[in-house]
Amino acid sequence: MSDQVTNIVVAGLGGQGVLKASDIIAEVAFAAGLDVKKAEVHGMSQRGGSVTSDVRFGQGVLSPMVPAGQADYLVVLDETQVENNKAVLKPEGELLTIALINPSNLKNKRTINVAMLGALSKRFDIDEKLWTDTIKANLPQRLHEVNMEAFALGRQVG
């Protein structure tokens, strides 16, 4: 079954939007009609500790956690969190870090998670509108524009 399941791990520090990003990925897969599971470890994330979240989608997802060495994509929102998480990647898996994004092109630094979703979204054959609609549904109206720009930037560089 693992061939039919895409495994994504999002990692970062508390407050960087890791859980929001993984929620959006899971909701996009859900809206695309796929089976999906999402797991997270967020014990006490509000205090700046490490946060990771796993999203798995495809046909018939069983465990909600991505097994070590099975991730197709590792999306990292903080450079300090690459080392401790990279064992989760498959040998041919892809690491996406914020080095992809030039921060001076981001109007609001806090949209880095959505910019990374832009880059990630290029890897799937899922309608772009599903992504943008889901992102909007997860954010208050006043943040829509700046996040749409961040998403578009991510799609360009990704």
Binding site: G43, R47, G48, G49, A87
Partner: protein, 529 residues
């Protein structure tokens, strides 16, 4: 039918709404907290009680009156609620009573990793274990139904990975209404004096025998046929890990794990060449199955610690007992910059106090740079452990003992400690610090009786700590902001430690994450007036 993407906690809440639960009561605790928050958000009647014992008793009362009651807590909460649990098993209920026990194998956010499946057996309370969000939804509805049918409380046991994982849920088409409640007098059934409790215990065992019979037949204990070489018996989240680890095996997935369907288990074990039981946590299933004389394999001791996952199940099946790869080392949590608890720990650290600590964000005062905590056992223990130290240590040490407790924890189980302090007064007196940050921060900013707001943040009566402590007979009660009045705080602490009196210092300043929300609730309230 609606297709939804829900966490296990949201699924339980949605099922509670769709099944017409009259009342949800609980006390916050990771990973259970979001159940009542979500139930309230989607329109259910939910309340935070001061602690789990009170919550369960409120649920019992509601269910005696015919209501469908839901009571939620984390695993250690059931220790606090164990007293009513064991006896409500005897009395049974008229409506429905479902208790959520949210266990935390691996201790993502807990002080121990007790396996509450043991409580089901010890108390004689049937237990259901879902494996994903869909089953969390289905089994809550089923638990309410079985509770009413058998007139018995039911435990729905979930774990961190069920509670906090999202998955797809198809909801039921028929939505039920809350029950019409009506008190029916039943003195021998409800008043557990020995003369009535003796037959009640017999009735409980008869019910459990019947439920065990039902459990032999029900389809919720599912057999998934596969190869004959390997059969796996498992429950809860371990089931999905095991299916992924051994797709070729045959499975018996147990959904009601107390009382066990031992005949079904025996037949399954006989039908395969090798039968392995995969238990996360304690060897609960394997011990019970072996005690029934059924020949099965269990897991090596090293897999008793921490949660299971696909790799660990593969290792168990391969009898691999070599050392496991170390889990990735993340950045540990710390008190937020600007957290009001910081000031207090700076002073306690500088004064070299012996700190009897408690559970909450402030437990992080144990970490550098403060290292200002010497004990932490369970909620409320700071005050009573501090008293034990005061009573027995040599005087120079006893005088340095301070108990430190958060505001939510104080209401949960600190008040009785204060009663002990004024009653069994230590010779050197005692000093208690209540760190009142106007919220239950640790579990995600919940209200409690001291905040003056209900679970849904609507206004409520606010418990006045200072007036209560004075009325209880504490010699000195101070209320201050330890950050803004740091000199004053240090002076009062120094003086209190030096004298033989009982002192409570309430260090009051909102948690920085809560402060913004509190302002929002207040504005909303003012606008509504």
């Amino acid at each position: 039918m609606t297709r939804m993407l829900l966490s296990g906690n949201e699924a339980v809440a949605q099922a509670a709404l769709d099944s017409g639960v009259n009342l949800g009561a609980g006390y916050p605790g990771t990973p259970s907290t979001e159940i009542l928050e979500h139930f309230s958000a989607i329109g259910g009647a939910a309340q935070w009680s001061p602690n789990e014992k009170v919550a369960l008793e409120v649920g019992i009362g509601a269910a005696f009156g015919g209501a469908k009651a839901l009571v939620t807590m984390k695993h250690v909460g059931l220790n606090v609620a164990a007293d009513p649990l064991f006896t409500v098993a005897y009395t049974g209920v008229s409506g429905s009573l479902v208790i959520i026990s949210a266990d935390d194998p691996g201790m993502a956010s807990s002080q121990n990793e007790q396996d509450n499946r043991n409580y089901a057996k010890a108390a004689g309370v049937p237990m259901l274990e879902p494996s994903d969000s869909q089953q969390a939804y289905d089994y809550l509805a089923l638990a309410l139904q079985l509770s009413h049918q058998w007139q018995i409380p039911i435990i729905l046991r979930v774990t961190t990975r069920i509670c906090h994982s999202k998955g797809i849920v198809n909801t039921a088409d028929t939505k039920l209404s809350p029950s019409e409640c009506n008190f029916q007098r039943d003195i021998p059934g409800r008043v557990m004096v020995p003369a009535y409790a003796r037959p009640a215990h017999r009735r409980l065992r008869e019910k459990l025998n019947k439920i065990a019979q039902w459990n032999e037949e029900t389809e919720i204990n599912e057999i998934i046929p596969g190869g004959k070489e390997l059969g796996i018996i498992t429950s809860g989240i371990s089931y999905v890990h095991a299916r992924e680890a051994a797709p070729e095996a045959s499975f018996l997935k147990l959904s009601m794990t107390y009382p066990l369907p031992l005949n079904k288990i025996r037949q399954f074990a006989d039908s395969v060449q090798r039968c392995v039981v995969i238990d996360e946590g304690d060897p609960y299933l394997v011990d019970a199955i072996r005690a029934a004389g059924i020949c099965v394999e269990g897991k090596a001791d090293l897999y008793r610690f921490g949660e299971l996952n696909v790799e660990r199940v593969k290792r168990i099946l391969a009898n691999d007992t070599t050392a496991e790869p170390a889990p990735p080392k993340g950045k540990p949590p710390q008190l937020c910059q600007g957290c009001p608890h910081r000031h207090v720990f700076e002073v306690l650290s500088a004064k070299k106090c012996i700190v009897a600590g408690d559970i909450g964000c402030y437990t992080l005062g144990v970490l550098p740079p403060f290292e200002a905590m010497d004990t932490c056992v369970c909620m409320g223990a700071s005050i009573s452990v501090g008293l034990g130290l005061r009573h027995t240590l040599p005087e120079d040490q006893a005088r340095r003992v301070v108990s430190v407790i958060g505001d939510s924890t104080f209401v949960h189980s600190g008040i009785t400690g204060i009663v002990d302090m004024v009653y069994n007064r230590p010779k050197t007196g005692h000093v208690v610090l209540i760190l009142d940050n106007s919220t239950t921060a640790m579990t995600g900013l919940q209200e409690h009786p001291g905040t003056g707001r209900l679970l849904n943040h609507e206004p409520a009566y606010q418990l006045d700590f200072a007036a209560m402590l004075t009325a209880m007979g504490v010699d000195n009660v101070h209320v201050l902001d330890a950050g803004k009045e740091s000199d004053n705080f240090e002076q009062i602490l120094t003086d209190s430690l030096a004298c033989d009196q009982t002192t409570v210092i309430i260090a009051r300043r909102p948690c920085i994450l809560a402060a913004k929300k509190i302002r929002e609730y207040q504005t909303k309230q003012e606008n509504a007036c």
